[in-house]
Assembly symmetry: C2
Homo-oligomer: 286 residues x 2
Amino acid sequence: MVEPRESFGRRLPEAIAARSPLCVGLDPSAALLDAWGLDDTPAGLESMCRTVLEAVAPHAAAVKPQVAFFERHGSAGLAALERVFADARAAGVLVIADAKRGDIDSTMAAYGDAWLGEGSPLAADALTVTAYLGFGAMDAVVDLARRNGRGLFVVVASSNPEGRGLQEAVMASGTSVEAGLLAELARRNAEECAQAAQPLGSLGAVVGATRTVGSLDLVSLRGPYLVPGVGAQGATADDVGRLFKGTAANSVVVNASRSILSAGPSSSGVAAAAASLGAELRDSLG
Amino acid sequence: MVEPRESFGRRLPEAIAARSPLCVGLDPSAALLDAWGLDDTPAGLESMCRTVLEAVAPHAAAVKPQVAFFERHGSAGLAALERVFADARAAGVLVIADAKRGDIDSTMAAYGDAWLGEGSPLAADALTVTAYLGFGAMDAVVDLARRNGRGLFVVVASSNPEGRGLQEAVMASGTSVEAGLLAELARRNAEECAQAAQPLGSLGAVVGATRTVGSLDLVSLRGPYLVPGVGAQGATADDVGRLFKGTAANSVVVNASRSILSAGPSSSGVAAAAASLGAELRDSLG
């Protein structure tokens, strides 16, 4: 009998404590592949990701493949992504599939089967999702994630300015869209924490490092945060430390893509960039 | 030299006029495959879709593969979807890829390359997208769609109740999220119509048939509508006729999935269901 997997709400903090709060984005864009001297083909993507995985596995809690760059190559690109997932599992690093899927009912459940299902070739430790159609229509995926010891990161407050209008819009209840989503995630995490007697639930939020302190209640989530916006997008490790002050220990994982990948194709260069940013984030979030 | 493709804003109304306002959803769920006596495998999905395509091509303007059901089978599922796309092109029916992708900047552009790019094995006539991260962050895909004579359908007002809170939330500008999105799409379509001297732009909106008349300005879009919610979800052809009264001729395409697919596995049963609903929709929208 296979031992059930521990919950994502336990596994992520362990990985952060063991390595660092760094999540390395696997974003094999045409521009980066060119800079690395690799072809813009599934084989080129796979080669870049393999180099990055080996270099960053000792320094990062997780890697975050950006699914769009693989999907761009059709089914052959997804086949390369499946091999990257297998490599990441072998390297012992958590995988957050950045797919930002978002649909309802049986369709959303099918996305759950793809990215969080046991035996799926694309199964990741966690999946990013968006909730334009309502977080309440995603119950099946929330249940699936918990059952399989996997997690979800719901985009709450993105790092780009174009998202502000919608995310700060005020619902009939009087709360903003982003605050309402965060409260709903907190409610579901509280249920999970009570049932499983654990400090952190498995429902995470994506909150950009470029947000300002104080506009959102970040300490009540009792779940993990995935934080974009550091490095090429302008925010610093200190900004992250200020923004997430008071949140649970080892609950914040910070993504960096271009600032790590542009140190390649030298494996030692990528490793050094990851080690350095990982240490900086550990200090600022410590 | 290859003749440039006509714009999606021209091609969709032509297809509706030639056949009907019906769009048949290709939703090969585990439950439907079982009802058809097919295996829940990529080969089973492909077999169901091929039967449906042949049966509905004379009666429907478009088909709408629900990408989640293919993604559920990983890269092998996407390979099956690529073959379904090729079959649909051969059958002369438009393909709307229902993927509801939504991201920003270069990531969104990569989704555009996948689903709207020339030479991509997954290239469709139009793609559904969601804009939790802001429609303004999708400019690259809007431009790509127009350049390639393809379209986008942005989810504005979904057919499920869980989406109401967010979609009706009020932005700082004083308009609701859904009305703001619709106005933004109308603005971009007006630009395209002026430049190309055509009545309809290529930026469409997804609006559920379950919405009530009068809460949204649907007549100003000057673009196509993709309408879920008819049949299994409870709305009727008459509801659609009332809701879209006053919109441009042949600009509304109505999706039905379960109500058509459950008439299978008999090809003639599927064809009869599509012909009947297509005629009903032509009458109510005429």
